[in-house]
Amino acid sequence: MTTTTSPAEVPAARSRPSLLRRVWWSDSLAGWAFISPTVLLIGLFGLVPVVWAFVLSFEHNDLISPGTWVGLDNYRKLLHDPQFANSVRNTVVYTVIFVPVCVVGALLVAAALNRRVRGISFYRVAVFIPVVTSTVATATMFGWLMDPDFGLVNAGLNKIGIASQGFFRDPHEALFVIVLMTVWGWLGFGVIIYLAALQSVSADLLEAAAMDGCTRWRAFWRVEVPLLAPATLFLVIWLTINALQLFDEIFVTTKGGPVGSTTVVVYYLYVQAFQFFNGGYASAIAYVLFLAILVVTVIQLAAGRRFSYGQR
């Protein structure tokens, strides 16, 4: 009695592996077929340039003629390039101000918008509009608002007895005006993230806090804000990555000036690649920036896990 299976089942058992394999194959094939356009596009426009830029960074290359291999020359040059050092400094200053201002601002605005007030959708839309406004339009608007001679802002400052400011024209102020402009543009994004997170905070917790005699402010600070940690972590990482790659706003407003005061890393990369046609050098800058972003993100993630209440 070695076999208890009916004769009818035996062929089925025998053919099962090949059938399974066939099924597995067809599934997998269909799956690959479905994602192939994306894989192809990402491969072509994402991976190929990434690898190519890495090769380029070891060459002198004007992006068209065949380059010449120079080993680590470009990276060595970066170490002694005062303009690159200046661009790194500007990028760090920008990021260190932009990210906290944007996160805290978004949190406060989101808290204010997370209530039942008449016309709340209007306010929410109003906050989000800058996000979808094109950078060029934003820049043109800020250009006029902050015009040192004819701008509304200086007119207002003069009214209350403050002297006219140089804004985009003043090397000590230009970067901060860029911060202001980009916070205006990004705030709505942070608000949307926080609003979604706030709505997932259980009302039970807030009720319990209230019953324990907790004030509204303390409940916000001690209950809601800690529960928002995952959202905060996401925002900090996302905004930092974007801040380190700041380009559009600089390109359409100050072009890195006045006197290099707003030349950030990616803008400097652009100048090297597409104005000076130093493709190899620009690729080296890109790789240094990539490594910097990688390191910063990993640190942020590690730090974030320590303080996150998300998993509890």
């Binding site: 340039p49 068209i64 390109f251 072009k255 006045p258 046609f277």
Partner: protein, 435 residues
């Protein structure tokens, strides 16, 4: 004349696309060999960035050509705006698909010259029938790199002094003359400035770009200076002439505060239109943007004791190598397009300036001047352009060094001598590296 529209992010996008494309097929040379000959008919493509009236005029001219030349059929392709023309061309080159003729900025010449895909026109232009010497000398210089000709002038402009007559009348200042000196210019600008109404005598583009640099170059040349040494290996602008030019900028912008500093967004033109700026150094492309109710005059630039030098930015038609038949056809068409007759008709329709001296001797020229009175001085001013910016790969770096330092001078942050020292040091480093 919208061929000089301001740059927008599209340029960046285009440039990045160029990089990806360049990356994809890294440096595969040679032209595309799509057969575009059938039964003796050669089809060629010409890419350009003309819009508005210029677009209409070139389209009409090409249509007329195609009708009377069945054997050479020309297809016009819009390049999306001339600001991105070079990036687009380079991407096409890397991908092995190029037009036969393309419109390129004069400043792009260094990046194009000497490439195997770009046709060396030297022997072609030396054909006496083409009359190459008829083009203004600075145009020929700008189309030449290392002694070889790579372009045929397509459009030319130059800087002259455009002023608002009403503001001069109101301030009791007599109009600029062709004997004006820097002192006259500075004094007038000061008188035309009124801090209380925020009216400025002059406007200067202070974004640190080539826009900042080329106006300063005109001043450098007026003072008798030079940008680089004759052999092009070292900077020559850190000189007494350079200092005089820079000092004038400082004195007017910082001491007199008679200069509106434009941030590169083109506000100066709106402010000129609204009567807040009395004078600007600009080219014919801005004339069509001046409101009809603004009565303006045009005068040549002031002198620093010597010549009333101006600067021009001639743009070129560049030929690409897509096989001998197409190259020959492209040249035949281009010789016709850039002849005095054809280009004369083009200027009549558009108000562009003549590129050949003989165009000013055509019968239609008086009609042209009557139709575009503002252009008369700009045409005359072409003879004040005696020098061209060097066609070298390092020029953009030299330009950036000067532009950025002049920005510092204009806002009163850097002294003229310090600015020149810093700019010269940076320029010399760039010239020495030869990159």
């Amino acid at each position: 004349m919208a061929s000089r529209t301001r740059r927008v992010t599209a340029l960046a996008a285009g440039a990045l696309a160029a990089l990806s494309l360049a990356a994809c097929s890294g440096g595969s040379g040679g032209g595309s060999s799509t057969p575009s000959q059938s039964g003796g008919v050669v089809e060629i493509t010409m890419s350009h960035g003309y819009t508005d009236v210029e677009d209409k005029a070139i389209t009409a001219q090409v249509a007329a050509w195609n009708k009377s030349n069945p054997n050479i059929q020309v297809k016009l392709v819009f390049n999306g705006g001339n600001d991105g023309a070079l990036q687009k061309t380079l991407a096409g080159m890397a991908a092995g698909s190029m037009p036969d003729i393309a419109y390129e900025y004069g400043s792009s010449m260094a990046a194009l010259a000497g490439r195997p895909q770009v046709v060396d026109l030297t022997s072609k232009v030396n054909d006496p029938a083409f009359n190459w010497k008829d083009f203004y000398s600075f145009e020929r210089d700008a189309a030449t790199s290392d002694g070889k000709v790579y372009g045929i002038p397509a459009l030319v402009d130059n800087l002259a002094l455009v002023y608002n007559k009403k503001l001069f009348d109101a301030a009791g200042v007599s109009y600029p003359t062709d004997t004006w000196t820097w002192d006259d210019f500075r004094a007038a600008a000061k008188k035309l400035t009124d801090a209380s109404t925020k009216q400025y005598g002059w406007a200067y583009v202070a974004d640190g770009s080539e826009d900042t640099t080329w106006r300063w170059l005109a001043m450098l040349w007026q003072a008798g200076g030079d940008l680089v040494t004759a052999d092009g290996t070292k900077s020559a602008f850190n000189s007494p002439a350079g200092l005089r030019a820079t000092q004038l900028l400082h004195d007017m912008a910082v001491t007199d505060k008679s200069v509106y500093l434009d941030q590169g967004n083109g506000n100066y033109l709106n402010l000129f239109n609204s009567g807040k700026i009395a004078m600007m150094w600009t080219g014919p492309w801005d004339l069509s943007s001046i409101n009809a109710d603004v009565s303006y005059g045009v005068q040549i630039l002031p002198a620093a004791g010597g010549a009333h030098s101006s600067i021009a930015g001639p743009d070129n038609w560049v030929l690409f190598n897509n096989g001998a038949a197409r190259e020959q056809a492209a040249w035949t068409f281009l010789s016709w397009l850039t002849s005095a007759q054809t280009h004369g008709a083009f200027t009549m329709a558009t108000g562009d300036l003549p590129t050949r001296e003989s165009e000013t001797k055509l019968d239609s020229y008086t009609g042209y001047l009557a139709k575009y009175p503002g252009d008369a001085v700009f045409v005359l001013n072409l003879t004040n352009v005696t020098k061209a910016r060097p066609n070298t790969k390092t020029y953009p770096q030299v330009s950036q060094a000067i532009g950025s330092q002049m920005q510092g001078v204009l806002i009163g942050q850097t002294s003229p001598q310090d600015a020149l020292d810093a700019a010269a040091q940076q320029a010399d480093a760039a010239l020495a590296s030869g990159q």
